[in-house]
């Protein structure tokens, strides 16, 4: 059940064997899964960690004095420590379990936001945010009377950092931006941007939904104030995400949701709050999911995040080279060196939805099509939708070749 330490240079071919779904067929063809940016697949080690938990150890955590409740609590808290180490948090209590990245961001918007953002305050976002790192701030800004400003995106899909610096001079309270764009693949210079924000007196929330799964992320090196990510994008289960925060900030924040486990004492009319991280974890937590996330972290550690990043860069460079040769195909975003394993593109006048349907039915390739929860970014590029292929540790060049084959098929069907 626990992962054996793997050789650091395990090949993607080898890794694929751990993912049962990768041997299934769709429409009679082997599944080629190129949508890991939306959600990754799961290795046996993760699936079994959870099944085994339910089969042998399940009980509610934290309050039981009997054996299986102690074991369940220990397993869950061990997972928290694993996650803390994975992102190099100083203390595991800085790791708060949520449902997903979206809830992590909303938690900060509700708890820190309502306590700290006043009328006229400025929050700086960027033009490439996922709706999850945009809508919560719109809701906060609307209620608190705060202002939102946006760092624009260049034609190459990079942030316009000169505008960022100008916006910082307006002394924002908070800067919230994505570490890596889920549409363009752009990896933003987080460390520099955070240092600049701090120099201007702003806190920084980093949407790491696409970075933590795909590259080494060190919260202390980044000196980031809040970091948010989802287990389901990093080989882990659905139903659990993480909010990391600097301890003094988390300590000072009021709770988000009220209920069991997050209290110290409860009277009829007043209550006091529990310590971190439980202050922010109201009700029975996602216990099995935390354990599954812990197993995913073990699995990724065994591969090595540097290796994962390297593999994805190689695959991305290869894929960009290959798909660029398809006539009429346009790739959006920066060159391979500045991006993660994501390629958004359009092909002639074929609508991305039609393209995705054709790829699915003709060659078994699963890609995403649409606005990718980033409508403002789409509008920036004058697009209603793009097709998007994305890669992970289990992606091989054969997958890319099948994508290219499917793109040619689409040209044929659309008579282009």
């Amino acid at each position: 059940m626990t992962t054996v330490q793997q050789p650091a240079t395990r090949s993607a071919d080898d890794i694929r064997g751990d993912f049962p779904i990768l041997s299934r067929l769709v429409h009679g063809k082997p599944l080629v899964y190129l949508d890991s940016t939306a959600s990754s697949q799961k290795p046996v080690a993760v699936i079994e960690a959870m099944s085994q938990y339910y089969e042998t150890t399940h009980a509610n955590v934290h309050r039981g004095v009997y054996e299986i409740s102690e074991e369940a609590t220990a397993k869950m808290e061990r997972a928290r420590v694993k996650v803390a180490r994975f992102i190099n948090a100083r203390q595991s209590k800085q790791v708060i379990f949520t449902r997903n990245t979206t809830e992590s961001i909303n938690l900060v918007a509700y708890s820190w936001g309502y306590a700290n953002i006043k009328a006229g305050d400025l929050i700086v976002l960027t033009g490439m945010e996922h709706h999850s790192n945009l809508v919560p701030w719109q809701m906060l800004a609307q209620r608190a009377g705060a202002r939102l400003e946006f760092v624009p995106v260049t034609d190459d899909g990079l942030l316009q950092l000169d505008v960022y610096e100008q916006l910082l001079q307006q002394q924002p309270r908070l800067v919230a931006f994505t570490h890596m764009s889920n549409v363009l693949g752009t990896v933003n210079p987080a460390q520099e941007m955070i240092a600049q924000a701090h120099a201007a007196g702003a806190l920084v929330l980093l949407d790491a939904a696409q970075s933590v799964p795909h590259m080494p992320v060190d919260v202390q090196a980044l000196d980031v104030d809040f970091l948010c990510f989802s287990a389901h994008k990093m080989l882990g289960p659905t139903g659990i995400g993480v909010l990391y925060g600097k301890r003094d900030l988390l300590e000072a924040m009021p709770p988000f949701m009220g209920g069991g486990d997050m209290i110290r004492t409860v009277g009829l009319r007043e209550s006091t709050w529990n310590d971190l991280p439980w202050k922010f974890e109201a009700g029975t937590p996602a216990i099995a999911e935390a354990i599954g996330l812990g197993a995913a972290v073990d699995y990724l550690n065994a591969i090595g995040m540097e290796n994962a990043r390297q593999h994805e860069q190689n695959i991305t460079a290869y894929a960009m080279e290959q798909v660029q040769q398809v006539p009429g195909l346009i790739i959006y975003g920066p060159g391979a060196a500045r991006r993660g394993g994501v390629i958004s593109f359009t092909l002639g006048d074929i609508h991305p939805h039609d393209l995705a349907s054709i790829l699915d039915q003709e060659v078994g390739v699963a890609i995403r099509a649409g606005h990718h929860c980033a409508q403002p970014l789409m509008e920036r590029f004058g697009l209603a939708a793009t097709a998007r292929a994305s890669f992970y540790v289990y992606t091989i060049t054969d997958d890319v070749d099948m994508l290219v084959k499917g793109l040619h098929k689409a040209l044929e069907i659309f008579k282009l």
Binding site: H351, P352, H353, D354, S357, E362, G370, A384
Partner: protein
């Protein structure tokens, strides 16, 4: 070869019939598909209980735009009573290809907007799109 993209579908996609707007429509509605972003607006000119003129505008996939184009042809000149009766089967018949579950929203977007335009004009009672339910 895929069954999904017959030539007439591509033709309607690339050369949509009745594309545009009306100067003085007396029925209008628009909607989008929140998950894929497809958009559609329909203008109708109804006189003496007949659909005299129809125009639609939209952007989206071949399925949604061809369906809209075909639907516009289908209703032109028809009585309101007949148009009110139009349902999903009529759309599927005119598309003439199998539509997978994820694409049904594309196929039926124009039908939904059409019925809404009649409802807003008081010519049909508003529908509650809960067909999936018990």
């Amino acid at each position: 070869m895929s069954m999904d993209y017959r030539e007439y579908i591509l033709d309607h996609y690339r050369n949509p019939r009745n594309y545009g707007t009306l100067a003085h429509p007396n029925a209008h509605a628009e909607d989008s598909n929140p998950l894929c972003g497809d958009q559609l607006a329909i203008d109708l000119l109804i006189e003496e209980d007949l659909v005299k003129e129809v125009r639609f505008q939209g952007r989206g996939c071949a399925i949604s735009q061809a369906a809209a184009s075909m639907l516009s042809e289908m209703i032109e000149g028809k009585s309101v009573e007949e148009v009110v009766q139009l349902g999903k089967d009529d759309v599927l018949d005119s598309l003439g290809i199998p539509i997978s579950p994820a694409r049904t929203k594309c196929a039926f977007l124009s039908l939904r907007v059409l019925h809404r335009s009649l409802a807003l004009a008081g010519l049909e009672k508003p529908i509650d799109n809960d067909e999936e339910d018990q």
